[in-house]
């Protein structure tokens, strides 16, 4: 009887089961690390985008303020005095009214009395 032959038989089935299990656990680990990295990369990207949006918002605000400043009354007046812009008064004779009476301020308002009741 050849006992040595029997002793050297590889238990392929169990070995494969273990190998698959170890590979699966290893893969899970790698996935976990990949996910963590992805989370970090996406977080960094998210932060960069937030910063970019904030910067864009600030640039928009700065530009808006600049427009407000350049079109403000004191600035227009300064430019008028420097001769960069000119104002031409509209003559009364050039006015052509399309309405008999206008209220340029607002529509007729709701007026309330001291107790909150609508008067007109």
């Amino acid at each position: 009887m050849n006992r040595q032959t029997n002793d050297n038989v590889l238990p392929i089935g169990p070995l494969m089961r273990w190998l698959v299990l170890v590979a699966f656990v290893g893969l899970l680990g790698l996935c976990y690390v990949h996910m963590k990295n992805k989370l970090k990369v996406d977080g960094d990207r998210c932060r960069e985008l937030e910063m970019a949006i904030k910067l864009l918002d600030e640039k928009l605000q700065v530009a808006g303020n600049e427009i407000t400043r350049l079109t403000s009354r004191p600035e227009l007046e300064r430019r008028r005095q420097e001769g960069l812009i000119r104002m031409v008064p509209v003559q009364d004779s050039r006015l052509n009214r399309l309405r008999v009476q206008t209220s340029a301020l607002a529509a007729e308002p709701v007026v309330r009395g001291p107790d909150g009741e609508v008067l007109r």
């Binding site: 998210c46 808006g64 009214r97 209220s103 301020l105 308002p109």
Partner: protein
């Protein structure tokens, strides 16, 4: 294996078991017993709560024109401990900062050569510069530079409307005007986010915890119309240069609603630099200064007497030819008159006539009407600092008071109070609550709060108001005291006022006058009521009257406003009624 070998192996096993048991015990001690302590220690190092600053709401006029906005500004600071240690890196950092902030290199180098944890390099750096600086420092991997947001308020119209808008203190809170009045709406609500940082100080976004976003402040829309405000400011500027008075103020409201359309005072200040302004220039004189109103106050006594039916517009009083002895004192008129009707007493502004009407009316009733017209109490505009004026209690009136109060002496009022009483006459006897804020809107433009016009009380009947209005219209006629208040094409009604300036030490300051004109137009359908008040104009005493100093300013402002509001010119017919003048071919029938 021999017995000795077995023994040795057993000893090694026991030794290993003991060592690992000690390690295990320590591990359990650290992980379980000391869990809380070390967790908080780690948290303190990596976890951080970042504040998110809410942006202050903006202020606009009724047409949406921006009056107060925010500028994103930063303070750039350096943490001396974090800045890389070597001299070469410090020099590099100084170079980058100097280039981006346009500062001298040696000065930057000097400032950052420190071990202190917080050294400000420059304040007031705009957001775009800061972004460039951040980008370059990040690329160069240089740490230790901090950027602290400190937004600045910007008022694009500079001095214009400065007294109404107010300004902010160093903490960003309103200290005057609408900025203070609407602070709860404008301020917004700061937010925060808890997060963790890695060892380089960079945020680990995945570990963000509790988050409460900042709620920006709301937009406050004023009733002010900047087009009308500009007209007022321009005319006041011109008058301030020409007359060089101590103070000049003007307020315009819409009588039907009580909305304040324009409010200006000279001298003014620039709210962008409140620290540079003198305290005196920052006061909104339209609401915090009280004056003896002079003859503009005569509308109260005449309206009261007409309402009580003590007199009719045709009742005749003898005006003593300009000199009336009463209570041991002489009361004088500027020009002597004989008999005048109540209507003409107003038109000619007779002090003696008004005194006699008041005596006829009775002091108690007169006092009651003074209060009914809103004198002696705040108008309710809401702007901080508004005063109530001064109306002495009836029991402390002297026997002379009944002759002096009707002509606007022995009483102190604010310009706004006079405008509101004039508006009550223009509005058929209904006194409106003055309003400076029209609406409050959220970030999406939705109206959160709106302020609708509100009647405070009916002061006099419609008929009485019409009688007074008819007299006021004639004040601006050729026979009145203020023909210079007339606006071509638009009937104007109003009243002049001239009073000696009260000396704070007591009595009056000789040769100094507070003159005013309060009125409204078009008289047939009032759209705008206002007052122009000039304190101590540098003009000869013989010309220092409301009708000569304030009325022309009122007219100049009125001309601009009528044009801006596109009011249709009207003409007065021989029977006193007015008709609208519509150009031929206008399409109106």
């Amino acid at each position: 294996m021999s017995a000795a070998a077995h023994k040795r192996a057993g000893l090694v096993c026991i030794l290993l078991a003991v060592v690992f048991s000690i390690y295990s015990a320590r591990l359990v001690h650290l992980q379980v017993a000391k869990h809380k302590e070390y967790r908080s220690l780690a948290g303190a190092t990596t976890a951080k709560t970042v504040d998110e600053r809410a942006e202050r709401g903006i202020i606009t006029d009724r047409n949406g024109e921006a009056l107060a906005v925010n500028v994103p500004i930063y303070a750039v600071a350096v943490d001396g401990k974090l800045v890389t240690e070597t001299k070469a890196d410090r020099a590099k950092l100084a170079g980058i900062i100097s280039r981006h902030l346009e500062l001298p290199l040696d000065k930057v180098a000097e400032r950052i050569a420190t071990e202190r944890p917080y050294v400000v390099v420059q304040r007031g750096v705009d957001a775009i510069r800061v972004a460039g600086l951040k980008e370059e420092l990040s690329a160069e991997r240089i740490r230790g530079v901090m950027y602290e947001s400190e937004p600045r308020r910007f008022y694009p119209n500079e001095e214009r409307l400065s007294h109404v808008l107010g300004f902010l203190n160093h903490d960003g809170d309103g200290v005057q005007g609408v900025e203070m009045m609407m602070q709860p709406y404008l301020r917004g609500e700061d937010g925060f986010v808890t997060t963790e940082r890695d060892r380089t100080g960079r945020e680990i976004v995945a570990y963000r915890g509790t988050e409460r976003p900042a709620k920006d402040g709301m937009t406050v829309e004023l009733t002010i119309d900047m087009e009308l405000q500009e007209i007022v400011e321009k005319e006041l500027d011109e008058a301030y240069k020409r007359l060089n008075p101590n103070m000049l103020t003007a307020v315009y409201v819409r009588p039907r609603t009580g909305e304040v359309l324009a409010m200006a005072t000279r001298p003014a200040f620039n709210p962008n630099h409140p620290g540079e302004a003198k305290v005196e220039t920052t006061k909104n004189r339209a609401i915090i200064e009280m004056f003896e109103p002079g003859s503009t106050f005569k509308i109260v006594v005449i309206a009261a007497a007409l309402e009580q039916k003590t007199v009719t517009p045709q009742s005749i009083y003898h005006c003593e030819n300009g000199s009336f002895a009463y209570g041991g004192k002489i009361l004088r008129d500027v020009h002597g008159y004989g008999s005048l009707s109540v209507h003409d007493i107003m038109v000619k502004s007779s002090n003696i006539g008004c005194a006699k009407i008041a005596m006829h009316l009775g002091a108690d009733t007169f006092h009651e009407y003074i209060r009914r017209f809103g004198f002696g109490e705040r108008t309710g505009l809401g702007l901080p600092g508004e005063i109530s004026g001064m109306v002495r209690p009836r029991h402390s009136w002297t026997p002379l008071s009944i002759t002096r109060v009707p002509m606007g002496h022995e009483i102190a009022v604010t310009p706004l109070q006079i405008v509101m009483s004039m508006s009550a006459i223009a509005n058929g006897g209904n006194m409106m609550l003055p309003q400076i804020v029209r609406a409050v809107r959220d970030q999406d433009g939705r109206e959160v709060v709106s302020f609708s016009p509100q009647v405070v009380r009916r002061v006099v009947s419609e008929q009485t108001a019409a009688h007074v209005a008819a007299s006021l219209a004639d004040v601006v006629g050729e026979k009145g005291t203020a023909p210079q208040a007339a606006i071509l094409g638009y009937p104007v009604a109003g009243k002049t006022g001239t009073a000696q300036r009260v000396d704070p030490k007591g009595g009056y300051t000789p040769g100094k006058y507070v003159v005013s004109f309060a009125g409204y137009f078009p008289a047939n359908d009032p759209e705008v009521a206002g007052i122009v008040l000039v304190d101590d104009a540098r003009t000869p005493g013989t010309r220092n009257y409301g009708g000569l100093v304030a009325a022309p300013i009122f007219a100049a402002i009125g001309r601009g406003m009528a044009r801006q509001l596109d009011l249709v010119p009207a003409a007065t017919k021989s029977d006193g009624t007015t008709i609208a003048l519509v150009p031929f071919g206008s399409g109106a029938n």
